[in-house]
Amino acid sequence: MVDKTGLILGIIVAGIIAAFAAVNVSYTLDLIFFLAFYAIAALSLNLEYGYAGLSNFGKVGFIAVGAYTAGVLSAAYGVPFPLCLIAAAIAAAAVGAFIAIPTVKLREDYLGMSTIIIGEMIRILLRNTPTNSVWGGVFGLRGIKPPFDFITNTFERTIAYVGLSVVLFFFTYILLERWGNSPLGRVLKSIRDDELASKSIGKFTYRYKLLALTLGSALAGLAGALYAFYFLYLNPDTFLPLVTFLIWVMVIIGGMANNAGVVLGTAIVILINRLTQIAKDYIHLPLEPNYFQAMLVGLLIILFLMFRPQGLVPEKPVRTPAWRVLEERAPKEIDYLKEGEGGEENE
């Protein structure tokens, strides 16, 4: 039996976004930008956690590296926008590789603890940069050159930029979907499920984990650069660890190792966020909604891990040529295999 939860929720989410668009276009544009930004970040985390089983708790640090690289290059040196995007991805990838080299050899705990420390370290470093330099310290980085400045109308420019973000999101999605179904994705999944077995068939698991973390960081850096050019202002205190955990909730709700599920999870988390912000003006609760939201994030993490660890949209079997042939010739056996996998997961 095919699980339709994801499809139904996806339709609901699309409906809500369409309803927003009917009411207020510029608000919807902002919403769509945030969807694209968080979806890229969540997809990159999905590559690391969902596919390779690596626990990166410092995602926001890599986003910050990307954002500040792009911001400084643009504000201080006037580097054109596309080059800034590439530089941001490269810088974040370099930081990712720097952390991955010593830690991915060790147990998952070490990676988790190191990455969370690195994330905070990057924020504290950025906070303490001199306030009179281009970095701006606690006052934030200003003076990023707006992209598409040949478009004079601000509204049209925003549309163009949000459109570009969505295109980049689709590009990331297709890229990750291809990687996931390629031999690379299969090796990563095998490392996640049983690293020893993967080693025993001659895979250099260390190199693959390094690759996963580096590529994931590069994508996070790309997301950060998009963020920088959307707001044209950066402040170290927007890169709090809470952002990382928001991204983790997206992946856990959506379903690990399933890109479509992760995008759905992103949309759900962001819509919950936005809808509670709107509801705040109309309903008076004896609670501070911002803190309550964060409590909800914590609760959602625990409840999902406990009662639906596979997420809303469970992982799909890898589409290899052999699997496709099997699907054509022996659909019954395939159904049996799928049920067997599901049964294992529910145990």
Partner: protein, 443 residues
């Protein structure tokens, strides 16, 4: 090129030494002449900071040995203890009368404690066995404090019990069911982050309530404990330690002289001390003494527990191999509960000391946690003595580094947090097994 881990360590250490020599050379005598007189003070500050790190990090190590995952909620468990103590210490008695709200809280604690204890007598559940009495004592302490006035002892008991209960509940309600469902290590870590977020923002919510309805600000406040300030001088070969805070109350201040002739208690003229004495060599507060005594008590207690008692033996067996321990008839559940309880209690007392030393705010535990992780990793995750040594090494690195940074330019002290993190990164590159890895040999 493939290097053995020993060669890598040696090369790395050589590079570190060369870099240190270069830094020493580059900074020049103008910086070092400012740092050298501070060295005794750096050492005594290291003692305090190391004590505080140890009290938090040892809990991470303890839960790591029995549950096998890094608990990200540990810092926030400490914050809960600090807040429990803070609220009890400052608000149990309001303008001479017992605080009505605190009395209600105490009554609820006593009643629920009695109910849970009775439930334990019926069911013999190992969780209720500790939870019931803990709640009972907590409630009783709150009631006692409301009617007799709160002191620091009651606050300490409250901090330890509150953190222990939260720690135990997080294990019983979240981590145990999860690991029974076969959750992976990463999932457990993520779940502990969920617990951390929940606790931290529940505390934020509490501070918001306090601001909104009680008109009382309870974030970024000093704890309110009056600490005595001790200062020490070396005069003519004798060490003189005086309690300078006493000069506010009387003309003469109590002092101890320690020298070749023995130890003598004297009284010094306060005006002399203020105007004639040189710059003190050392300056420390009560907290230095309390935290050192606490750490000593913890070390002696844990050593006795692990070496002499059956519980300690069972604990070690569970940490080593839970399945085999269960097969030998050890009640694994109780032992694991005990580990979470003890870890929580130590976190509570650590959080209380941190709050007294700095300020109290909901992010307190989170800020400590990252440093405590650095300590735990440097100590080799799961080694008691490794954690002990690592606490003081990192504390020394931080205090020394801060002095050097301040001597170069006082603005640079903002980079303080970078020092333990840099040491941590260095350890990851050179010796990822940590200090415990030095002793154990690979098979």
């Amino acid at each position: 090129m493939h290097l053995s881990s020993r060669a890598k360590l040696l090369i790395g250490l050589a590079i570190v030494v060369v870099l240190a020599a270069y830094v020493y050379q580059a900074l020049g005598p103008s910086v070092w002449s400012k740092v050298t007189p501070q060295i005794p003070q750096i050492f005594i500050d290291t003692l305090l900071l190391g004590n505080l790190y140890f009290l938090i990090a040892v809990g991470i190590t303890m839960t790591f040995t029995v549950a096998k995952f890094a608990n990200f909620a540990h810092g926030d468990v400490a914050t809960v203890g600090a807040y429990a103590a803070y609220l009890l210490y400052n608000f149990a008695v309001l303008s001479g009368a017992p605080n009505g709200f605190a009395v209600q809280v105490g009554l609820v604690g006593v009643v629920s404690g009695i109910i849970l204890t009775l439930a334990y007598l019926k069911t013999k559940n190992s969780t209720l066995m500790v939870l019931g009495p803990a709640l009972l004592v907590m409630g009783a302490v709150v009631l006692f404090a409301c009617y007799t006035g709160a002191n620091l002892w009651e606050a300490t008991i409250e901090a330890m019990l509150a953190s222990a209960v939260v720690s135990l509940l997080s294990h019983v309600l979240v981590y145990k069911p999860l690991s029974n469902r076969g959750a992976s290590l990463v999932q457990l870590m993520v779940a502990s982050i969920g617990v951390a977020l929940f606790i931290r923002y529940a505390l934020y919510e509490m501070t918001w309530y306090s601001r909104q309805y009680f008109k009382q600000e309870i974030t970024y406040q000093n704890f309110g404990v009056q600490l005595s300030n001790f200062q020490a001088w070396i005069i003519n070969g004798t060490l003189v330690i005086a309690n300078t805070t006493a000069s506010f109350a009387s003309e003469y201040i109590p002092a101890i002289k320690i020298g070749a002739g023995g130890i003598a208690f004297t009284k010094l003229n306060a005006l002399d001390v203020m105007f004639k004495f040189p710059q003190p060599v050392l300056s420390f507060t009560d907290l230095y003494i309390w935290s050192t005594l606490t750490v000593l008590a913890v070390i002696i207690g844990m050593t006795l527990l692990f070496k002499k008692t059956k519980i300690g033996k069972a604990w070690r067996a569970v940490a080593n191999n839970p399945v085999l321990a269960a097969a030998c008839g050890i009640d694994v559940d109780s032992v694991v509960n005990l580990a979470w309880l003890v870890a929580g209690a130590l976190a509570g007392i650590g959080g209380l000391f941190w709050a007294i030393q700095t300020q109290i705010y909901p992010e307190l535990g989170w800020m400590i946690l990252l440093n405590a992780f650095a300590v735990a990793v440097l100590g080799g995750l799961g080694s008691f003595w490794g954690t002990f040594a690592a606490s003081y090494i990192l504390a020394f690195a931080e205090q020394f580094g801060v002095s050097v940074l301040a001597a170069i330019n006082p603005q640079y002290t903002g980079y303080r947090f970078m020092i333990p993190f840099s040491v941590f990164l260095l350890v990851l590159y050179l010796k990822p097994e940590g200090l415990a890895g030095i002793k154990t040999r690979k098979a």
